[in-house]
Every structure is written in structure tokens, then in C-alpha cells.
């Protein structure tokens, strides 16, 4: 008994070591962001913060407001991607799981193979198409592009949640006077809430983290998200790493908040989205 307690303690200790090594890059981002310029080029570098300051946050988010605009754009794109993905994916996943329709197999195969498409392969034809219909440099254009990956993901992830519900739910709802659409919204949807949360979290992440479409389908700062802001910042300020890491930390913040508050949905989403069917 004592022996196994020692072993468990040992495993926890090794676990802590693994965490320290593995999460070092995240720590280093935050640490660099609060490092004063004079400390930044200290050789050898201090691993723990020395003379911590919020100067770089003040410089980039209070004195200079450019980044604030990028943050707002990121939220618009991420929330837009999330809402539109859910609106389109929920009914589609429901029908593919529970309604008798023709061509289900074909639809599932197409949805699965869309996930395989390289982003850059879609970016170029979209660029030419969007330039013809004024969707370049446009929030809607970016959201549509992000949906190329988030919509198939959402359908694939949601379908098993609908499949797992007991049969006969719709019949019971019908006997109680619901029609097909009200039974779907009133009876079925509340039962798959956890699935909806998972999908919402991931679609938000897709929108927030997108880079390739932001890079190729925008031409001005009015719609550019924070990921692109960060990239352009590298080009402009080169080696002011404390400023860069402050921007990176702020860009990571919503992800960290979502991650902490929605943990169980996140783990579920990874396994469901990649393994089912």
C-alpha cells in the first residue's frame, strides 16, 4: 500500500516535470511580454522575470490603438464563424443522423473529404471569385472562407450526438402535437446541448486562429484579425520581442479563457471530431 502511494507520488512528480518542459514556450511568451527592454537582451537570459513591467501592453493596447481594432475584427470573424457554422450544421447533422433522406452516404463522404482540402488550394480560387463579387476585404468573405473547414467539422462532430439519442423521441413529440420543426427545436436540440457547446468552442477557435484566409483575402486593416496583425507586427518591429509577445499573449487570452472555462467540451470535441465514422 505504502509502495503504491510512493509510486503515485513519483508519477505526479514526473507529470509536473513534463508540464514544466512542455509548457515552457507558453511561459516564455508571457515572461517575455513583461520583460523591460533593458532586460530583453541580457546574456545569459534570466529564466525568471526580473523587473517585470506592463510597458509593452500599455504601448500596444493603450497608447497605440491599432491592435484594438484587430481584436475587434477577430471577435467579429470568430463569432460569425461560430454562429453560421452552427446554423448550417445543426439541421444538416440532425437530418443525416435521424431522418430518412436519399444520398446520405454520398454527403457524409463529401463532408469527410472536404476536411482534407489544403487551405491554400481554396484560397486562390476564392481570391479570384471574391474579387469579382466584392467579397475581398469583407467580414462576410472571411467568415465564408473559414466555414470551409468549420462546417464539415461541425457536421461530423454533431452527428454522433443526434445518433446517440433514443429512437422514438420524434414520434412522442408528434403525438404531443409538435410538427417536425418544433419537435426538432423544442425536444431534440436541448438534449444535444453538450455537443453544441463543443462545436461552438471549436468553430470559434477556427475563426479566431485563421491565418491563411486573412492573409490572402484581405487588403486593408479594416477587417484584418489579430493573427494577421501579429504577423505584420513581426515585419514592422523585427526584434522588439517584448512587444510582440505582449500582442501574442493578448491574442492567446481568449483561447486560454475558453480553454479553462470549457475544458470538458474541448477534450470531447477532439476525440469526437476525429474518430467517429
Amino acid at each position: 500500500m505504502a509502495n503504491s502511494r510512493w509510486r503515485m507520488g513519483g508519477s505526479t512528480f514526473i507529470g509536473i516535470l513534463i508540464m514544466i518542459v512542455f509548457l515552457f514556450p507558453v511561459y516564455w511568451m508571457v515572461k517575455t511580454s513583461i520583460t523591460p527592454v533593458t532586460e530583453l537582451y541580457h546574456n545569459p537570459p534570466h529564466i525568471l522575470p526580473v523587473g517585470a513591467t506592463f510597458e509593452s501592453y500599455i504601448n500596444n493596447f493603450v497608447r497605440n490603438q491599432d491592435m484594438v481594432g484587430y481584436i475587434g475584427n477577430s471577435f467579429i470573424i470568430a463569432i460569425g464563424t461560430m454562429v453560421l457554422s452552427l446554423l448550417l450544421a445543426i439541421p444538416a447533422a440532425y437530418a443525416l443522423a435521424r431522418l430518412p433522406i436519399k444520398g446520405k452516404g454520398l454527403m457524409m463522404i463529401s463532408v469527410l473529404s472536404i476536411q482534407m482540402l489544403p487551405g491554400i488550394m481554396m484560397a486562390m480560387p476564392l481570391y479570384i471569385m471574391f474579387s469579382k463579387v466584392q467579397l475581398i476585404d469583407n467580414f462576410a468573405g472571411l467568415i465564408f472562407a473559414d466555414l470551409i473547414h468549420s462546417l464539415p467539422f461541425a457536421i461530423i462532430t454533431l452527428r454522433p450526438f443526434f445518433l446517440a439519442l433514443p429512437g422514438g423521441l420524434e414520434e412522442a413529440a408528434m403525438i404531443d402535437g409538435c410538427n417536425k420543426f418544433s419537435s426538432f427545436t423544442k425536444i431534440i436540440l436541448p438534449l444535444v446541448m453538450p455537443g453544441l457547446m463543443t462545436v461552438a468552442v471549436f468553430c470559434f477557435l477556427f475563426g479566431w486562429g485563421d491565418f491563411i484566409f486573412a492573409l490572402t483575402l484581405t487588403t486593408s486593416n479594416s477587417v484584418r484579425p489579430l493573427t494577421l496583425g501579429l504577423y505584420r507586427f513581426i515585419g514592422q518591429y523585427g526584434t522588439e520581442w517584448n512587444n510582440l509577445m505582449a500582442v501574442a499573449t493578448i491574442a492567446a487570452l481568449p483561447i486560454i479563457v475558453i480553454f479553462i472555462s470549457m475544458q470538458k467540451y474541448v477534450v470531447g470535441g477532439i476525440t469526437a471530431g476525429s474518430m467517429k465514422d
Binding site: 508519477s11 537582451y41 448550417l88 437530418a95 433522406i101 489544403p118 486562390m124 470551409i148 491565418f211 480553454f259
Partner: protein, 309 residues
């Protein structure tokens, strides 16, 4: 009484059947379907068409000629194409090998019961959830030549004598992006493998223990064979996702110095958005797509054989 209920029962069944199999079922899938046709199917066809034409930025709005396979021929004659193909192969194979082995080791470790394991497990996911642009920027800073912390660690451990400019030297640029990509991919591999491990039947291990099989024997003869389907899916997903990595490399090295870390997606990007040879870029992304299709078909055949066994 019984007669009456039988009649209403069959009427009920009839109503139910009609309720289920009517045309308005399709209303549920039509919005998603329209979206996919317009924003995925159409661009794909357009890309295919472009790859057989001679469209570039100068003649975009004019008339285009059908030039057959010329773009493909031109791509296949370009030495940069082969550099990119080779870099893609190196990037994919090395990334997957290390993501998988480290991820598997961690999954086995976290499959034990000890205090804090759930917390650790989910903390690791943070690395995977960060937008790639952020991870790429962090690694760019850590790997910088003058004040990068990685050079500091390696020097302190006596592994290197002189600081190395990891990202601006041709011999290390691609490998540096591989290291960053391994870091990003480990948690994903770990979580998938862990969920596979947790589904394995406990009693097999207990029986093996009774037979005196040690941990290694158990791993080889129980864990590995039972995990085969999970491993297969993970491998194919890994290959597809790694083969199309663009952001990370674009952020860290932009494919350079010269072409030393140019992978196929970067090459396609440069043709389409830097030199603005749209048709040429389309042909490269079609070739990339064909490679992915071949890999996926190989996977499907492998997994269907798996089911027969």
C-alpha cells in the same frame, strides 16, 4: 374496442410514416448543401479549370486559352517543385514520427492513475489549441540566434559551443519548423491515443498478469494489436494535416532561406500570391490534392482490409 384501436393504430402508423418520409426532410440539409456547393464545390472546379488555362494577374479579366497540361508540365520541370516535394516529405515524416512516439509515451504515462493527471492532461491541450500564428511566433523568438533561449539551454548543457541561427541557416531552417510542429501535434496524438487506451478491456491485462507477462510483453501483445485501428486513423489524419501545414512555416521562415524550408503549400502560395501566376499555382495545388487523395485511398483500403480480418 380492440377493433377500433387497431384501425386508429394503422392510421397512426400511416401518419407516422408520412411524417418521417416527406420532402421537407431535405429542408434540413439544403442550407448546408448550398453553402458547400457555392463555397467549396465551385472553387474546387474553378481551381481545376484554372490549372488547364493560362491565367495570371495581367489577363485575369480577359479571355483565357485552354492550354492542356502545360502548367503541370512546367511545374514538373521546375527544380523548386522537387525541393518542395522533398521538404514536404521530410517535414511530414519527421513530424509524424516524433509526434506519435512522444504522444504515445505520454498517453501510456497519463493512462496510469495518479493525483493531478486530469489537470496535466488538459493543460497539455493548451499547446494544441493556441492559434498556429502564436506558436510560430513564440518558436521564432525562442530559436532566434542572438538572444534565443534555446541556444542558451543548448550551450548551458554543452550540446553546442556557438549560438546557431536556427531559422536563417539553410541546414537548420526546415528542422526548426519540424520541432515547432512536433510541439503543436503532441497533445493531439496523446489525447486520441489516451482515449483509445481507456477503451481497452481491463480483464485482458489482469489475465496476462496472472500468466506472468511483464509490462513489455503486455504492451506488445495486448496494447499494440488492440490499438491498431486507432493508430491507423491517427496516422492518416496526421499525414493529411501535416502535409498541408502552411501557417507555421510561413510565419517562422516563409519557406527560406532561399528554398530550404519551402514545402508544397508554400510553393503554391508563392506562385499564386507572390508571382501571381494563378494557373501555375492551381496546377501545384492540384498535384498536392492528388497526393492527398492517393494517401487517403491507401488508408481506406488498409482500413477495409483491417475490417475483413
Amino acid at each position: 374496442m380492440s377493433h377500433k384501436s387497431a384501425v386508429s393504430g394503422s392510421r397512426e402508423q400511416f401518419r407516422r410514416a408520412r411524417w418521417f418520409s416527406s420532402w421537407n426532410n431535405y429542408l434540413f440539409v439544403v442550407p448546408a448543401l448550398i453553402f458547400m456547393v457555392v463555397f467549396i464545390g465551385f472553387p474546387l472546379l474553378y481551381n481545376l479549370m484554372l490549372s488547364f488555362q493560362n491565367v495570371n494577374v495581367y489577363n485575369l479579366s480577359g479571355k483565357h486559352d485552354f492550354i492542356g497540361l502545360s502548367n503541370y508540365m512546367k511545374s514538373l520541370k521546375d527544380p523548386v517543385f522537387y525541393t518542395a516535394l522533398q521538404n514536404s516529405a521530410v517535414f511530414t515524416v519527421l513530424s509524424i514520427f516524433f509526434q506519435f512516439t512522444i504522444g504515445f509515451a505520454l498517453a501510456l504515462f497519463f493512462n496510469q492513475k495518479f493525483p493531478g493527471r486530469n489537470l496535466f492532461r488538459s493543460l497539455m491541450l493548451l499547446a494544441w489549441m493556441l492559434p498556429v500564428v502564436i506558436s510560430g511566433t513564440i518558436f521564432q523568438w525562442m530559436m532566434s540566434g542572438d538572444f534565443g533561449v534555446i541556444n542558451y539551454f543548448l550551450q548551458a548543457l554543452g550540446i553546442i559551443d556557438q549560438p546557431i541561427n536556427w531559422l536563417s541557416e539553410g541546414s537548420t531552417a526546415l528542422l526548426s519548423t519540424v520541432v515547432a510542429n512536433i510541439w503543436i501535434g503532441i497533445p493531439f496524438n496523446m489525447i486520441i491515443l489516451l482515449s483509445g487506451l481507456q477503451g481497452l478491456p481491463e480483464h485482458l491485462y489482469e489475465a496476462a498478469k496472472l500468466d506472468g507477462a511483464n509490462r513489455l510483453v503486455q504492451f506488445r501483445h495486448i496494447t499494440l494489436p488492440l490499438m491498431r485501428p486507432t493508430i491507423l486513423v491517427l496516422m492518416i489524419l496526421g499525414i493529411i494535416n501535416t502535409f498541408k501545414v502552411f501557417d507555421l512555416i510561413f510565419i517562422m521562415t516563409a519557406g527560406g532561406p532561399v528554398t530550404s524550408s519551402t514545402v508544397l503549400p508554400i510553393y503554391a502560395y508563392q506562385l499564386s500570391f507572390a508571382t501571381l501566376e494563378f494557373s501555375q499555382g492551381a496546377s501545384v495545388s492540384m498535384i498536392m490534392f492528388l497526393i492527398l487523395i492517393v494517401i487517403s485511398i491507401g488508408y481506406l483500403r488498409m482500413s477495409s482490409k483491417e475490417e475483413v480480418h
